[in-house]
């Protein structure tokens, strides 16, 4: 009986670490393939963008959120619904610009960086840049969908 229970928790543990470890292997490989950190950052952003344009459909299908009426609402949905659903964390929203068109998402416990240490020679590497790409791709798709729906 206890062996079965152990099995369940092991699977869950493996499952949650799998994504983190796979991402780490990806960044390591990209660092080998590209000579400088800037290129790796660009590549991560591009890959994130490609993921984001597909992830947004998965998100809309699973989350049932309605249309956001302003940018603040968008920020809330990103932090409290999307991040929670996909990464199990709720980043904090801070640093709103005076015009209300820029804000910062601060991730206290970023699951992507579990077990990760950046060596000194990669000081300009943006390790989690994939997330930026995902957000960019997803939000761009939303904007396109909105214009298509209105037309």
């Amino acid at each position: 009986m206890s062996r079965q229970a152990n099995r369940g928790t092991e699977s869950k543990k493996m499952s949650s670490e799998l994504f983190t470890l796979t991402y780490g292997a990806l960044v390591t490989q990209l660092c080998k393939d590209y000579e400088n950190d800037e290129d790796v950052n660009k590549q991560l952003d591009k890959m994130g963008y490609n993921i984001g344009v597909r992830l947004i459909e998965d998100f809309l299908a699973r989350s049932n959120v309605g249309r956001c009426h302003d940018f603040r609402e968008t920020a809330d949905v990103i932090a409290k619904v999307a991040f929670k659903m996909y990464l199990g964390i709720t980043p904090s929203i801070t640093n709103w610009s005076p015009a209300g068109d820029e804000f910062s998402l601060i991730l206290e416990n970023n699951p992507l960086v579990d077990f990760v240490e950046l060596p000194d020679n990669h000081s300009s590497l943006i390790y989690s840049n994939l997330l930026c790409g995902v957000l960019r791709g997803a939000l761009e798709m939303i904007r396109k969908l909105r214009y298509t729906a209105n037309a």
Binding site: E10, E17, L18, T20, L21, L55, Y86, L87
Partner: protein, 160 residues
């Protein structure tokens, strides 16, 4: 606690990216891309294996290893177990998955059969067990059969 869908998205993108990088379209280039992906999978599997408690990997015999692979590893990675495991009790095992999650999103149809081998053959997951069960030496001969895009058959011939 990353959502399971994230792994699938990331994996698809990784294959697309690492495949596209190699300028050599012939079998030499393909092999290189495959081994890069395999290497990544191996590292991931090794790390996963290190994270598990010691007793989990204390297998008494080969069949236990395969059962661990089909039940625990598959459930952890794909949220389902392997559909069937057959053996001739002489070192050859056939693992069958009727709805392999990494392929299931591809439309079924002959034109995709050419693309499909990139994905499972390239899937890091095939080498995960090689490391998660790192107490065994996996110099296995693996052949992948794809009767249709949704079926995956992998035969493993383990050395004596």
């Amino acid at each position: 606690m990353a959502d399971a869908a994230l792994f699938e998205f990331l994996h698809t993108e990784m294959v697309a990216e690492l495949w596209a990088q190699d300028p050599d379209p012939g079998p030499g280039g393909q092999k290189m891309s495959l081994s890069v992906l395999e290497g990544m999978g191996f590292r991931v599997g090794q790390a996963l294996g290190e994270r598990l408690p010691r007793e989990t990997l204390a297998f008494r015999e080969e069949l236990d290893v395969l059962k661990f692979l089909c039940k625990d590893v598959w459930a952890a990675v794909f949220q389902k177990q392997m559909d069937s495991l057959r053996t001739n009790h002489q070192g050859t095992y056939v693992l069958q998955d009727n709805s392999f999650p990494l392929l299931i999103r591809m439309a079924s149809g002959l034109q995709y059969l050419e693309e499909a081998p990139k994905h499972p053959g390239a899937s890091p997951v095939w080498t995960l067990p090689g490391s998660a069960t790192c107490c065994l030496m996996w110099n296995s001969a693996r052949r992948l059969h794809l009767p249709s895009t949704n079926h995956c058959l992998q035969s493993l011939a383990l050395p004596p």
